[in-house]
């Protein structure tokens, strides 16, 4: 009987570990299913499908090769990079900057249109830290559908709105990409940090 109790404890521990891993992998799997759906001709797009987005920061080398990184990895002054975005729906995407002094600039540094089933890559960026030391933030924004003021919405998000009752966000970063998913049409944000020494 003692052996059986030990076995039960072991099984319970394994099940707990497995489900923790499964949950950890869930965001990536859900996002990849969502962004792949437009490619499959007869896949019916369910109403109210979640917003999903894959973001990679592409660190550029001198020979023109782009090395994908997640947004969770900090970058440094002078790094040259582009941002690659893949989303589950047609949407506007924009990049906003919060300066090292904490000011969220109202005009985006770049704006584009995402097409489902296609990747969008920004032009090359390099932040030189001219404004002094600290950390520049670049917010990659999948704009919410029908939002009249993206900057107001982003300000709420950056100030902690992601914990609000109407925004639920699952996010997972691998070494090469960040995977995000939230309620349908509510928009998504992930932030790249560039440290100036």
């Amino acid at each position: 009987m003692k052996l059986h109790v030990r076995s039960l404890v072991l099984v319970a521990a394994l099940v707990t570990a497995f489900s923790a891993n499964a949950q950890k992998g869930a965001a990536k799997d859900i996002v990849l299913d969502s962004v792949s759906a437009p490619l499959v001709a007869s896949a019916v797009q369910p109403a109210g499908r979640s917003d999903a987005m894959v973001v990679s920061v592409l660190l550029e080398s001198a020979d023109g090769i782009l090395y994908p990184r997640s947004t969770a990895i900090p970058f440094n002054t002078g790094d040259r990079f582009r941002v690659k975005i893949l989303a589950s729906r047609e949407a506007r995407v924009s990049l906003y900057n919060t300066t090292p002094s904490g000011v969220l600039k109202p005009e985006p540094v770049w704006r584009g249109v995402l097409k489902p089933g296609q990747e969008t890559i920004t032009p090359r960026f390099v932040l030189d830290g001219a404004s002094g030391g600290g950390t520049d933030q670049l917010h990659v924004v999948l704009e919410p559908a029908g939002e009249p003021s993206v900057i107001n919405w982003l300000g709420t998000w950056v100030d902690g709105g992601r914990t609000g009752k109407d925004i639920r966000l699952d996010e997972q970063s691998t070494p090469n990409a960040t995977y995000l998913v939230s309620n349908a049409g509510k928009g998504l944000v992930t932030t790249i940090r560039i440290n100036h020494l």
Partner: protein, 265 residues
């Protein structure tokens, strides 16, 4: 009561699992009429194994090796500011879908959402004999002689341009191979070694401000007709595989910057 797992009830459990799995597979297959998407990288790797694996080494008569294509024979060509098309080191996220997707590894077609390219350096010795195969991520030393071996999943045209200037502000300064206004035509699945003439080769420049640009594209991939999607590159021991997503109505267009070790310092 806890029941220890025995061989007998293990078999029963396995049988139940198999039945559940079978019914789980059977249900979607019965309701769907489209080809399931498949991971693109394994399919393309199989295709490369079939079409590239048997390409013979070029036969070069050492006594005839006399023509050398260097970085510098495009003098007088117009200079145009240039930023390379994106080449990402890694694998794409989206699956392979489209026409006859299950047969892609044997017969790639233009109805698939990806097109692919295999490229490698054939590095030659002083007599012009191939002594090494290298992926495109490998280093070229100044003075090394090489050819470019190219195999595409689509009917392609290929050419080599010269890039000049500082790495982050390069300029395109003319086609060096073949002669300007002409391209090398390569059929789908066939391999070509550039330069085509067995007694010609490129020589890696020692000048850090000089690089080459290999372009392999579908003949219709001009201007807005060229795919605007990034190429994904994976380097193997003996060559590099490229994949590009092709939106409907667009055509594949690959570019690869070629630099010697000096140009990357």
């Amino acid at each position: 009561m806890f029941t220890p797992l025995t061989l007998k009830n293990s078999c029963a459990a396995l049988a139940i699992c198999v039945l559940f799995s079978a019914s789980a597979w059977a249900q979607p297959l019965g309701k769907t009429a489209f080809a399931e998407p498949v991971p693109v990288v394994p399919s393309f790797n199989q295709w490369v194994g079939t079409y590239v694996g048997n390409a013979p080494e070029p036969v070069i008569d050492p006594s005839l090796v006399q023509v050398v294509l260097t970085w510098t024979n495009s003098e007088g060509a117009p200079v145009v500011a240039y930023q390379p098309k994106p080449v990402i080191l890694g694998q794409p996220d989206l699956p392979l879908v489209g026409e006859a997707v299950a047969q892609a590894a044997q017969r790639w077609n233009l109805g698939l959402n990806y097109q692919g390219l295999h490229v490698k350096y054939l590095v030659l010795d002083a007599r012009g004999v191939v002594r090494q195969l290298r992926p495109m991520g490998a280093v070229l030393l100044p003075g090394e002689r090489f050819k470019l071996r190219v195999t595409a999943t689509f009917g392609a045209v290929a050419s080599v341009d010269r890039l000049t200037g500082e790495v982050w502000s390069a300029q395109r300064s003319g086609q060096i191979y073949p002669q300007p206004g002409v391209s090398v035509q390569i059929n789908a699945g066939e391999t070509a070694d550039l330069p085509l003439n067995p007694n010609q080769y490129f020589v890696a420049s020692g000048n850090p401000a000089e690089r080459l640009l290999l372009t392999v594209r579908h003949p219709q991939a001009k201007g807005d007709m060229a795919s605007d999607q990034p190429a994904y590159r994976q380097d193997g021991a003996l060559g590099s595989n490229y994949l590009q997503l092709i939106p409907s109505g667009k055509f594949p267009a690959f570019e690869q910057v070629i630099a010697s070790n000096n140009a990357l310092r």
